[in-house]
């Protein structure tokens, strides 16, 4: 079974891929959008994780 971080990676990649194919027409644009959205998902998730860290104790 996947751990939580791996599940987040899979989620971010799948959603980024679907959004790229929904919103872009050319292959190059789709690849760029997938990478950009995937990194944005990752950055936001890790950022929110750190913001919540003080409240975990």
């Amino acid at each position: 079974m996947l751990n939580h971080f791996q599940a987040m990676l899979v989620f971010a990649f799948c959603v980024s891929l679907a959004f790229a194919f929904l919103s872009k027409r050319r292959l190059g644009e789709r690849i760029r959008y997938t990478v950009w959205a995937f990194l944005a998902f990752l950055l936001v998730a890790i950022g929110i994780g750190w913001l919540m860290f003080p409240f975990s104790h």
Binding site: M1, A7, F11, C14, V15, L17, A18, F21, L22
Partner: protein
């Protein structure tokens, strides 16, 4: 002036007229199997990408032992969750086959699985809408 009329007539002949039936058929196929609606319309790259995206999300959600909400849910949020889950189409109906152990909400992974499976369903609703639009307008 006289040359534009035949040109317009030829252009109109080449383009298929908007068809609601074709759009609905594509939407139904896209709901039953994510990506099938686009495959029916010969949008192969989109069909493959959508099948992978929704399929992987749905299977990951189920293998994390996420909850698949039934139609008889009492709570309003659970009913919304049921609608979201239903968006996965075939994955919803074969969820017991794909994960025979069933849901386990006692761990965080199960809760995440519930959300991931619902996200797959909502994502497929967007894909269904696009399949309907492409089928109806016959656009690229």
């Amino acid at each position: 002036m006289t040359e534009t009329k035949p040109a317009k007539a030829t252009q109109a002949k080449d383009e298929a007229p908007p068809s609601t039936v074709r759009g609905l058929a594509a939407a139904l196929c896209a709901w039953i199997v994510p990506g099938l609606g686009h495959a029916m319309l010969r949008r192969w790259p989109k069909a493959l990408a959508y099948f992978i995206a929704v399929g992987v999300l749905a299977v990951v959600g189920l293998t994390m032992r996420g909850d698949v909400l039934p139609a008889s849910s009492q709570d309003a949020f659970d009913r919304l969750g049921f609608v979201a889950d239903l968006g996965t189409g075939g994955f919803y109906f074969f969820s017991k086959t794909l994960e025979p152990a069933g849901p386990d909400d006692s761990k965080a992974a199960g809760d995440y699985g519930t959300r991931i499976f619902a996200a797959a369903g909502v994502l497929n609703f967007l894909i269904i809408l696009e399949a309907y639009e492409i089928g109806r307008r016959n656009r690229a």
